[in-house]
């Protein structure tokens, strides 16, 4: 859709400055692009490539590695319905089928009013709450078809849970505001000479020799 707005370019420069290597800012910048347009537009990726000094192919390579970066417009609310084993046993697939029926779209598609996108996802690590789903990556557990209908109604009407779910694309916003002074002492990796702190020292450590053989 569009290149980054002037305001977002300013944010981009601020983010790039946090890293010793500009390319490291790629993922946060892709979040900015997604926040701006609701998905990561090709123009935005070209713009990011210019900002961090890599090719657009490298940006799209990073972007496509992550499912949560969307390369096409999605609905205001993305419903990730888990059909992995725990959820499946407790009705995850039925829940997905119900959502498809109710919204009139298949998993992976977006409703005509651009309100909802349904995704069939693998385990989202909330098996104790199975069957579970996420709306714009906020967790909701022990969902049955009635509860799902109610959630869809609330989201459409802007009531109930709509108040606690920001629109798609704003997930990473909170991560992008660093306290003053944090990151002031970053050093370019090429300039670091001593061994990383997690390296074992050369002094013999009796306790560790046992397991090696």
């Amino acid at each position: 859709m569009a290149r980054l707005s002037e305001e977002n370019v300013a944010r981009a420069h601020e983010m790039i400055a946090r890293y010793p290597v500009p390319k490291s800012a790629l993922i946060p910048l892709l979040h900015v692009a997604q926040e701006q347009d609701g998905y990561v537009a090709n123009d935005a990726m070209e713009h990011i490539a210019e900002l961090v000094g890599v090719t657009a192919a490298e940006v799209v390579g990073t972007c496509t590695f992550y499912e949560m970066f969307k390369r096409h417009p999605v609905g205001t609310y993305v419903l990730n319905i888990c059909t992995n084993i725990a959820c499946q046993l407790l009705g995850g697939e039925e829940l997905l089928a119900h959502a498809e029926e109710r919204l009139g779209i298949r998993a992976g598609a977006t409703t005509d009013d651009k309100m909802f996108t349904i995704e069939d996802v693998e385990c989202i690590a909330a098996c104790t709450e199975a069957p579970c789903l996420q709306v714009n990556y906020r967790y909701y557990g022990r969902i049955d078809p009635d509860r799902l209908d109610q959630m869809i109604e609330e989201l459409r009407a802007g009531t109930g849970i709509a108040a606690e779910i920001p629109v798609h694309g704003t997930l990473a916003q909170t991560l992008q505001h660093l306290p003053e002074g944090q990151g002031d002492d970053i050093i370019h990796p090429d300039l670091i000479t001593e061994a990383p702190v997690w390296f074992r020292s050369d002094e013999p450590e009796e306790a560790t020799t046992g397991g090696a053989a």
Partner: protein
């Protein structure tokens, strides 16, 4: 039939191994590294000595044990991507499977490449790799030379247990003008993407997606427009990447091949020429350590298409009564040519015969033509360079550096020459590797940004004509307004006590040779200075060595010094130095040239002053052109003789370093075309003389005998040296160029006219794969000048020099030095060469907004 250097080397190693007995391994080890015992490794029970830091896969291969691999390539960093090279390794903690391409050898390492576990790993990896591979080998170009096919046969399971649906993609998609990608065949080895990012620096293809949906692709609508894209086709271990010029042309087992050296430019990349049914169908890069490391540029790689062009000349042509060029017999054409030459010579005006060109020729052709022009016709008005090189005498006295010396790890290089990516592409790859991997410090003196600017530790911008002042400042430490004093200090600190390698050539066509020579001469007093002169034309170095230059004789000698070497083999040598191309063309334009011979030269589009060249071709009484095509210049000739091209003739060629390597014939020349040296010999006979040259090998041997720099470079020696043989180097002081102040008209701007890889020359336009890539030119201005003139990118400007006005589109680039304007030589559209004033050291122009482009 091998796809790349890695496999070629393996075959050699295997052959060596076959010749030896098994128990020879231990003794062999001692022989190889007598001073350094190296790292002791046991491979399949045999103790071997590896080099410290060497990767296990290489050490094993060097000692005759080939470990199968797909992603590993000896000229790229390992990534351990394909897992095919898993072998059992014990480093003191018991046997475990490890990827041998990621594992440096260590003392006491025990390796089993053929143990049941290693074999099971190889078998399993292949089964996985084949899960999504379409096995469309019968319609795949790679079939027959495919590492996946070969290694599946050698190491893989006999059958697949995979019954599910394979991954499907659109087959194949173009990722550039020349390269097609079939994602179904791809095994995701990361070779092409690593090449693009790490070797060429054009990361335009990249892995996309994740897991089983990973694919290689470009960014939408950003094609893989790299000058080096063809290399990815060569190193692809499957048939995923194919090149348009070779698709469905031949089967590997039907190919005949021979080793030769690419003559697309003067770098001298070693190649394999492959032919089928007497037609060249492909070049593959050959890995030789001193030059190209297996890489080629696309212009060179796909340049063979010109050989097969329907526009090749097949018959001799002369003018009929209407003045049209019509086919005649060779006898008629040679008779006409000889008659014109005889008239000129016998009337005592041998100096009215001139020869231009010869840099397309082999050394043997060039020697024969020097011997004919200087030893039989008696003219010294002979020049292989078209005013775009450097003075032959100056070059002969420069202390030389090889490419390897320039790229020596940790060294210091001063670059005062053309943009290598545009003019000497594979040298750019070597320089890029030297800077990025081997920490070579590069100091660039340049009138405009080049592909090296981002690599250089210091880039000094100068205006055309002022190179010598910058060089002087670097040598003396006195900035004198030519250079920023802080930059100067850091450059001098970088140079330190040397040694300094200096790459010298013509950065742009509007800056004179003298200006560059003066700068190079100044730099020669830096500590340990040695030079790599980078003249761009294919075998221009060989042609100059052979004496195709005014005042020169074979072996980089002057007329006086060279005469003695030739006493017994030549009947005469010229008395006084003759004229170069510019003066010859001036004389011809004024009607003072009786016979002008063009040896594959096309001054009408390739000389700095095209209108002068055309006047000269019209003004000379008789023009004889030897060429493969009816070029704009040849079409103005009176006699056109078709000559054999690359791969149609044998001989030797000399690269920028002075490395002589063998060219080999693979196919027959079209029609009646013959080698250039035969034309010289035939014309000599018709003039009642005898060149005494009967075969190419005999000429090579005669050169070795008479040219001091070529002593020992006999036909036999050069044919058995795949790396080529370096010519002898100069002795004596460097000839100082005239120390005048730079000359040129006064003007607000100085114009730069640079070469680009895909220009509008005959060779590019005769290659279907390359022709669509030909650049359309534009002018480039600095932001300050753009603002002052009130123009932005895309606007039209009119640039006026003493040669007249030229209007064209303008781009704004902040790399451009204010007061200069960049343009391109011999391109479609805005061809800056029409503005060049070849008289001065630089060309002054005025620029104004607007005009009719």
């Amino acid at each position: 039939m091998s796809d790349d250097a890695a496999v070629t080397e393996t075959e050699e190693t295997e052959e060596t191994e076959e010749a030896e007995t098994e128990e020879a391994t231990a003794e062999e080890t001692v022989e190889e590294a007598p001073a350094d015992p190296g790292v002791s490794v046991t491979i399949n029970g045999a103790p071997v000595s590896a080099k410290p830091g060497e990767l296990l896969i290489d050490a094993a291969e060097r000692h005759g044990t080939y470990i199968p691999r797909f992603c590993y390539h000896p000229r790229m960093k390992p990534v351990g991507m394909c897992r095919m090279c898993l072998v059992e390794v014990d480093t003191g903690r018991g046997m475990s499977l490890q990827p041998s391409c990621m594992l440096p050898v260590s003392d006491g390492m025990v390796v089993e490449t053929e143990s049941p576990a290693s074999k099971a790993a190889q078998d399993g990896v292949l089964e996985f790799l084949l899960i999504n591979h379409p096995l469309d080998c019968p319609v795949c170009d790679k079939g027959g030379e495919c590492p996946l096919q070969d290694q599946t046969m050698a190491y893989g399971p006999g059958e697949s247990r995979f019954v599910e649906e394979k991954r499907h993609y659109e087959k194949p998609i173009p990722i550039s003008e020349t390269v097609y990608l079939d994602r179904e065949r791809c095994i995701l080895c990361d070779r092409c993407t690593r090449f693009a990012a790490d070797v060429a620096g054009d990361a335009l293809i990249h892995f996309q997606g994740r897991g089983s949906n990973t694919e290689v692709n470009t960014f939408p609508d950003h094609p893989f427009a790299s000058y080096f894209s063809g290399n990815t086709v060569q190193i692809c271990p499957v048939g995923a990447l194919t090149a348009k010029p070779y698709r469905f042309k031949a089967r590997p087992w039907d190919l005949e091949e021979t080793n030769s050296t690419c003559t697309g430019c003067s770098v001298g990349c070693r190649i394999t020429v492959q032919s089928s049914r007497d037609q060249v169908v492909r070049y593959q890069g050959v890995d030789i350590d001193p030059v190209n490391w297996g890489w080629l540029c696309d212009k060179g790689r796909f340049g063979f298409e010109a050989l097969n062009s329907e526009d090749r000349l097949t018959d001799a042509l002369t003018r009929n009564d209407n003045g049209d060029l019509v086919p005649v017999s060779w006898g008629n054409a040679l008779g006409l040519a000889a008659a014109a030459l005889r008239t000129a010579r016998d009337s005592g005006r041998a100096e009215n015969i001139a020869v231009i060109g010869g840099s397309r020729l082999t050394n043997e052709d060039a020697y024969a033509w020097t011997k004919f022009a200087k030893g039989i016709l008696g003219t010294d008005n002979v020049d292989a360079q078209l005013g775009d090189g450097l003075d032959a005498e100056f070059l002969a006295t420069l202390p030389r550096a090889t490419i390897d010396e320039v790229c020596e790890p940790g060294g210091t290089v001063i670059w005062l020459g053309p943009d290598p990516r545009e003019e000497l592409p594979v040298l750019f790859l070597r320089m890029r590797h030297a800077v990025e991997e081997d920490k070579v410090k590069l100091i660039e003196l340049s009138s405009a940004p080049t592909s090296l600017s981002t690599l250089a530790s210091a880039s000094v911008a100068y205006r055309p004509g002022e190179a010598a002042a910058v060089a002087q400042a670097i040598v003396t430490g006195d900035a004198a307004g030519a250079i920023d004093p802080t930059a100067l200090e850091s450059i001098r600190a970088t140079i330190g006590d040397g040694p300094v390698r200096i790459v010298v050539g013509r950065p742009d066509q509007a800056e004179s040779a003298r200006s560059i020579e003066a700068a190079a001469f100044a730099l020669s007093s830096l500590p340990g200075a040695s030079f790599l002169p980078v003249l761009r034309r294919a075998n221009v170095n060989g042609a100059i060595d052979m004496g195709l230059s005014p005042g020169r004789l074979p072996g980089r000698t002057s007329l006086e010094a060279g005469r003695a070497n030739l006493d017994s083999t030549w009947t005469m040598t010229p008395g006084t130095p003759g004229k170069g191309t510019y003066e010859i063309l001036l004389d011809a334009a004024f009607g003072k040239i009786d016979v002008l011979i063009l040896l594959g030269a096309d001054p009408a589009i390739d000389f700095g002053d095209k209108s002068l060249a055309i006047e000269a071709l019209n003004g000379a009484r008789t023009v004889i052109a030897l060429d493969q095509f009816l070029t704009p210049s040849a079409s103005l000739a009176d006699v056109v003789l078709p000559v054999a091209g690359f791969a149609e003739t044998t001989g030797t060629t000399t690269n920028i370093e002075g490395r002589v390597s063998a060219l080999d014939q693979k196919v027959n020349a079209p029609g009646t075309a013959r080698s250039d040296w035969m034309v010289a010999a035939e014309l000599a006979l018709r003039l009642g003389a005898d060149l005494g040259l009967e075969s190419v090998d005999q000429i090579t041997d005669e050169i070795a005998r008479v040219a001091p720099t070529h002593a020992g470079i006999t036909a036999e020696a050069v044919k058995s040296a795949n790396d080529g043989i370096l010519t002898g180097t100069a002795t004596g002081p460097i000839v100082a160029p005239a120390a005048d102040e730079p000359t040129g008209d006064a003007g607000e701007f100085r114009i730069l006219v640079r070469r680009t890889l895909y220009d509008y020359g005959t060779l590019v336009s005769q290659c279907p794969a390359s022709a669509p890539l030909a650049s359309t030119g534009s002018f480039v201005l600095s932001p300050a000048d753009g603002e002052r003139l009130g123009v932005t990118s895309g606007d039209t400007v009119t640039v006026t020099s003493a040669k007249g006005p030229l209007a064209g589109p303008v781009q704004i680039d902040d790399g451009i030095t204010p007061g200069t304007i960049l343009s391109w030589f011999n391109v479609a559209g805005t061809d800056g060469s029409y503005l060049i004033d070849v008289d001065g050291d630089y060309t002054a122009v005025s620029v104004e907004a607007g005009g009719d482009a």
